[in-house]
Amino acid sequence: MQYEIIIAGFGGQGVLSAGRLLAYAGMIEGKNVSWLPSYGPEMRGGTANCHVIISDDEVGSPIINHADIAICMNLPSFEKFEKLVKDDGFILADSSMIEPLKLASSHKKHHDINATERAFELGNKAYANIFILGKLLAVTKMLTPESIEQALYKVLPPKKHNLIPIEMKALKTGMEN
C-alpha cells in the first residue's frame, strides 16, 4: 500500500507540521516515508505545501506528480492541487476557507470539513490542521491515532508537550466529524 499525499494551505496554517506528523507516525508504524516541503520563494499570503509519501515499499521519487489525497486548507491550494488528484483519489477540503460553490463544482471526490471553525471552538484555529488529519485517519484508516500521539511527542518541542492532550482531542473530534 502506498499513499501519496499533498498538504497545502496558507503559511501559518500548519501544513508543513501536519505533513511531518503524518510522516513521523508512518515511520513509527514501520512504513517507509518521505516529506518534501515547498521551499521556493513563497510569499506571505501565498500557499505553502508539502509532499508526504507513506509506503510499505521503498519510496521512489519524493516528488508527487499525481496525489492519492490532497488536503487543501485554502482556496488557492484547492485551485492548484485539485487537478493533481488521481481519478480514484480524493480531496480533504477545509470548507471554512473555501467557497461552497467552488467545492460543489469540483469533479473530484471531496470530503468537506469546516476545520478552521471547529478549531476555533476548541480554542485556537491552529488546531485546524490536526482536526483535518483526524478526518484523514477516519476515511483511510492509514494510521492509528496512537501513532499520531507518539509522533506529536517527537515533532513538538518539549515546552509544547502540555498541548498534546488538546491536539489529540482535536484529532479525535476530526475523526468523529
Binding site: R20, A23, W35, L36, P41, G60, S61, N65
Partner: protein, 355 residues
C-alpha cells in the same frame, strides 16, 4: 539496529560530520543548505569544536585549509554560487595535499540563478572547477540515509588520500525528511597525520604546507604524485548502484534525486512491457566508466537524465565509447521531470532504435 529518526537532509549532513569527528566548520549562509550551519552552530561548541560564520565563502574555504593543515577534520558547505567562490581555495588544497570536506547542496544556475534543486554543477565538481591538474572525490547520495553514510565516507577518504572530498546533493535532498539510522557504517578512525603543522613536539623537524612551487622539476614531481594518487583512488573508490540492469532494453543513467524518479519509471515501464535499467553512479569522480560501459553489449541505448542541460552525458558517452547511441533528457531552472515525461522519452528512443 539503532533507532530510526525522521530528519531533514541538511540536518543529517551536519550530524554526520560531527559523528565523523569534524571539529571545525566554516560557512556562509545560502539557500538551500543553511540548516547545516544552523545545526552546527548549536552542536559544535557543545563538543569543544569551532563553528564560525565567515565573512564570505572565500574566507570559509581558506579557514578549512588552515584547520585541516593543523590535522583537524574540517568542513565547509554551500550551494552553487558559493561553491564557485570556493574554487580557488579548493585548488590550493589540492596543491598542498591536505584533506578537506566540501558540501554542495546544488541549486539551479547559472549566475545567482534560483534556489530550487539542480544538478548543473556536475562539470564544476568533476572536471576541475578551479585551476590546475587536480581532482576532487565527488560522492552523490540519493537518500537521507546516504547523506549520512557518504558524509562520513567523505571525511575518511579525504584523510586517507589527503585531498578534497565533495558531497554533492541537490536542493530536494537537503530539504526533504526521511528516516535515518545512525548505524556504525565504517570505522571513523583517527588517521595518523605526520605532515600536520600542529607544533613540532617530539618530531624533530618542522612541517611546512604550501601550494607554491616555482621549481619546474619539483612542481612536475608533485603533479606526477597527484596523478598517481588519482589513479589509486580510481582503482579503489568507485561506487555505483544497478537496478534491473540485466535484461534492460534501455539503460537510464542518473544520480541523486532524479535516480529516484527513475525507480518509479522502471515500475511504470514494466506495465507497458518495457524493461528499463537504472545505472546510478554514486562516485561521480571517480566515474564508473568500465562498469557502465560493459552494459553496451546488451542494451539498445543509453539515456542520461539530469537536472541540467546535459553534463554527465559526456561521461556516459566516454563509457559507451560509440558502441551504442547515448541520449539525453533533462530539465533546468529548478523544474523536475515527471515520470511521464521520462517514460515518453524512453518510448520515443526505443521506437527510433527499433526502426
Amino acid at each position: 539496529m539503532g533507532e530510526k529518526v525522521l530528519m531533514k537532509g541538511n540536518d543529517v549532513i551536519a550530524e554526520a560530520s560531527i559523528r565523523a569527528g569534524c571539529k571545525c566548520y566554516f560557512g556562509y549562509p545560502i539557500t538551500p543548505q543553511t540548516e547545516i550551519s544552523h545545526y552546527l552552530a548549536e552542536a559544535l561548541p557543545k563538543i569543544g569544536g569551532v563553528f564560525l560564520q565567515a565573512e564570505s565563502e572565500i574566507a570559509a574555504i581558506n579557514m578549512v585549509y588552515g584547520a585541516s593543515s593543523a590535522g583537524i577534520r574540517a568542513m565547509t558547505s554551500s550551494s552553487s554560487p558559493g561553491i564557485s567562490l570556493k574554487q580557488e581555495g579548493i585548488s590550493y588544497i589540492a596543491g598542498a595535499e591536505i584533506p578537506a570536506v566540501v558540501v554542495n547542496v546544488v541549486r539551479c544556475g547559472p549566475g545567482l540563478g534560483g534556489i530550487l534543486p539542480g544538478q548543473c554543477d556536475y562539470f564544476q565538481a568533476t572536471k576541475g572547477g578551479g585551476h590546475g591538474d587536480y581532482h576532487n572525490i565527488v560522492l552523490a547520495p540519493n537518500s537521507v540515509q546516504e547523506l549520512y553514510e557518504l558524509t562520513v565516507r567523505c571525511f575518511n577518504l579525504a584523510d586517507k588520500y589527503r585531498m578534497c572530498a565533495m558531497l554533492m546533493a541537490d536542493g530536494s535532498l537537503g530539504q526533504m525528511m526521511e528516516a535515518v539510522e545512525f548505524r556504525e557504517i565504517e570505522d571513523i578512525e583517527a588517521i595518523d597525520k605526520p605532515w600536520a603543522t600542529n607544533g613540532m613536539g617530539t618530531r624533530g623537524h618542522s612541517n611546512y604546507i604550501s601550494s607554491v612551487n616555482v621549481n619546474p622539476d619539483e612542481l612536475e614531481k608533485l603533479n606526477q604524485r597527484l596523478q598517481a594518487k588519482y589513479r589509486e583512488v580510481t582503482k579503489n573508490e568507485i561506487m555505483y548502484e544497478e537496478v534491473n540492469c540485466d535484461n534492460a532494453d534501455i539503460m537510464v543513467v542518473s544520480y541523486g534525486t532524479t535516480s529516484r524518479i527513475i525507480k518509479n519509471v522502471i515500475k511504470d515501464a514494466r506495465k507497458m512491457g518495457i524493461n528499463v535499467g537504472l545505472f546510478r553512479p554514486i562516485s561521480l569522480w571517480p566515474f564508473p566508466y568500465d562498469e557502465l560501459g560493459k552494459h553496451a553489449s546488451h542494451v539498445k541505448a543509453f539515456l542520461s537524465v539530469e537536472l541540467s542541460a546535459g553534463q554527465m552525458i559526456d561521461d556516459v558517452r566516454l563509457s559507451v565509447n560509440g558502441k551504442k547511441n547515448c541520449y539525453f533528457y533533462g530539465r533546468t531552472g529548478g523544474n523536475i521531470p515527471s515520470q511521464k515525461e521520462i517514460l515518453d522519452e524512453i518510448v520515443k528512443i526505443l521506437e527510433k532504435e527499433d526502426r
